[in-house]
Amino acid sequence: MTGKRLRRAAYHFLAAGGAFLMVYPVIWLFMSSFKPSELIFVTAGKLIPDPWIWDNYVTGWKGIGGLHFGIFIKNSLVLVVLATIGAVLSSALVAFGFARLKFKGNKFWFAVMMMTLMLPFEVALVPQYILFAKLGWLNSIKPIVVPAYFGAPFFIFLMIQFIRSIPSELDEAATIDGCGKFRLFWQIIVPLIMPAMATAAIFSFYWRWEDLLGPLLYLNRPSSYPVSMALKMYLDAETISNWGAMFAMSVVSLIPVLIVFFLFQRQIVEGISTSGLKG
């Protein structure tokens, strides 16, 4: 009996200890953001700030070059919302086509789509840039947002799996009642695959919020920078005096990500486990 209890205590000690090590860097970042800049590294070994100050958040929020941090957050949100709407809706449309419609080439194009999942994006990067330059889209959010409206293979795959779990009798009944394919999709399938669409939206939010490469390539004006680029600006201007502000704004940039994470854990776990979506 005591042996069993001892084993259980050892298990929880190991698992909880590992978990603590995993989040320690994040806790350290959070705590450091409340320390005076000049003390962050002098007291790196101590977690609790002494004195505990808010100044880093005040100076950090003032931003760089007269642009306060709220502008960067707004820019990020615009990118996230526009790209997410496009990716989720177009992916649902494509997923329905692959999962439910019979046409020549269905299997072939599905295989092509799965192959694109394994394609290193770098191979298309340069010509894409040239294409957007020729279209006159540089220095706008179009190169980042517009491609989202052409479906995202990961989301399509996720939704196909979800649609396949819905009994096809529903479609057949609807078709007999004279329901066209688009109405069938919009009025019957879409409401049923809402959970999968929500999962896709959550991952789209993460990828767009954290994306650096797109903004780095296509946005040149600081006034149109999203949060990821704003943090890069802080890093480029890194001096001992603004470590605190950089830490504070890093924390601010993680808050939306953490809120979504804790609210939608179930969807995230399911999304990763069923389709291998990368977190």
């Binding site: 929880h12 698992a15 909880a16 590992g18 978990a19 995993m22 860097p25 994040v26 970042l29 590294f41 790196a44 494509v94 086509g97 692959f98 419609l101 019979k102 046409f103 194009w109 092509v112 789509m113 694109t116 394994m118 394609l119 290193p120 994006f121 770098e122 191979v123 298309a124 990067l125 340069v126 010509p127 894409q128 840039y129 040239i130 409206y149 052409f150 479906g151 993460y206 954290e210 650096l212 490469l213 990821s228 890069k232 802080y234 890093l235 470590w243 950089m246 830490f247 890093s250 993680l254 990500v257 995230i268 776990v269 990763i272 486990s273 069923t274 291998g276 979506l277 990368k278 977190g279």
Partner: protein, 300 residues
């Protein structure tokens, strides 16, 4: 005749639904890949027309650019040390968490949190600062009696910042392993116990073989993702890939060639070499998979 019309209509409806993907694939993937193959045989700076130079870019890459070889070496180290470590951690923690206990849900959340936030600039900035001369990594090293390491001065040490950041994000692979573990029927373990198999035998005779398809999937996806790592290298080295190219991952070097030096021809040649490397490795893993991946035969 009406039948034929209906058949045509079905084809058209099908293609209409998948048309966003088809168009996107042609415009943003297929055409750019073909274009980058063409560009890799040219000299192109984005402002003057591309001029055909044959295999010159490839010759320069293989014979005249030591930075390319350093970048390739750094990337291979990053991939072939980082991915196995990441998958090992993912599997070990998945085994640890594969039991019924109320605390397990909490542990699982904490272990995969890093893979959700890990791709962000904020975390890369955080990681940079963990490894400062007075950062907590050095403090921890001192605590166990080791000497401080100057992470930003030594190229071999610098790469470990990127590798540990990648390993720290083992959470998504862990979730996929956990889902795989849940799919193993408990009756197999019961039968094995009845036959007197010890836990180690049960692990190597039941768990591992039945997990091999998941291991295959994780290996391929994580390897490809590792070859594409960009943000951490870019942020941790402030865009330069230093010290002495110690963090110059392939994607970062390609990015610099294309968008810092505007050498689009050379960058395109690099992109195609990367495509070939990834395709070759994936093919290799698939080809060997029949020797080590165990596929269950379907029974009713």
């Amino acid at each position: 005749m009406p039948m034929r019309f209906a058949a045509w209509k079905n084809q058209l409806t099908g293609y209409a639904f998948i048309s966003p993907f088809l168009l996107g694939f042609l415009i943003f993937t297929a055409f750019p890949i073909a274009a980058s193959l063409y560009l890799s045989f040219t000299d192109y700076d984005l402002f003057t027309a591309p001029s055909w130079v044959g295999f010159e870019q490839y010759e320069r890459m293989f014979a005249g650019d030591p930075k390319f070889w350093r970048s390739l070496r750094v990337t291979f180290l990053y991939v072939f040390v980082g991915v196995p470590l990441r998958l090992t951690f993912a599997l070990l923690i998945a085994l640890l968490l594969n039991r019924a206990s109320r605390a397990v849900g909490l542990y699982r959340t904490v272990y995969y949190l890093p893979s959700i936030i890990g791709g962000s600039v904020a975390v890369s900035i955080m990681w940079r600062n963990l490894y400062g001369d007075e950062g907590i990594i050095n403090l921890a090293l001192n605590l166990i009696g080791l000497e401080s390491v100057r992470w930003f001065a030594d190229p071999a040490a610098a790469l470990w910042m990127l590798i540990t950041l990648s390993v720290w994000q083992f959470g998504s692979s862990m979730l996929i392993f956990l889902a795989g573990l849940k799919n193993i029927p408990p009756s197999l373990y019961e039968a094995a116990s009845v036959d007197g198999a010890n836990p180690l035998q049960r692990f190597f005779r039941i768990t591992m073989p039945l997990l091999t398809p998941v291991i295959l999937f994780n290996t391929i996806m994580q390897t490809i993702a590792a070859f594409m790592t960009f943000i951490p290298a870019y942020i941790i080295s402030k865009g330069e890939g230093g010290p002495l190219d110690g963090t110059l991952l392939y994607s970062l070097y390609l990015f610099r060639q294309a968008f810092v030096f505007y050498d689009m021809g050379y960058a395109s040649a690099m992109a195609w070499i990367l495509l070939l490397i990834v395709a070759l490795l994936t093919a290799l893993v698939f080809a060997t998979s029949k020797y080590w991946v165990f596929y269950e035969t379907k029974e009713d």
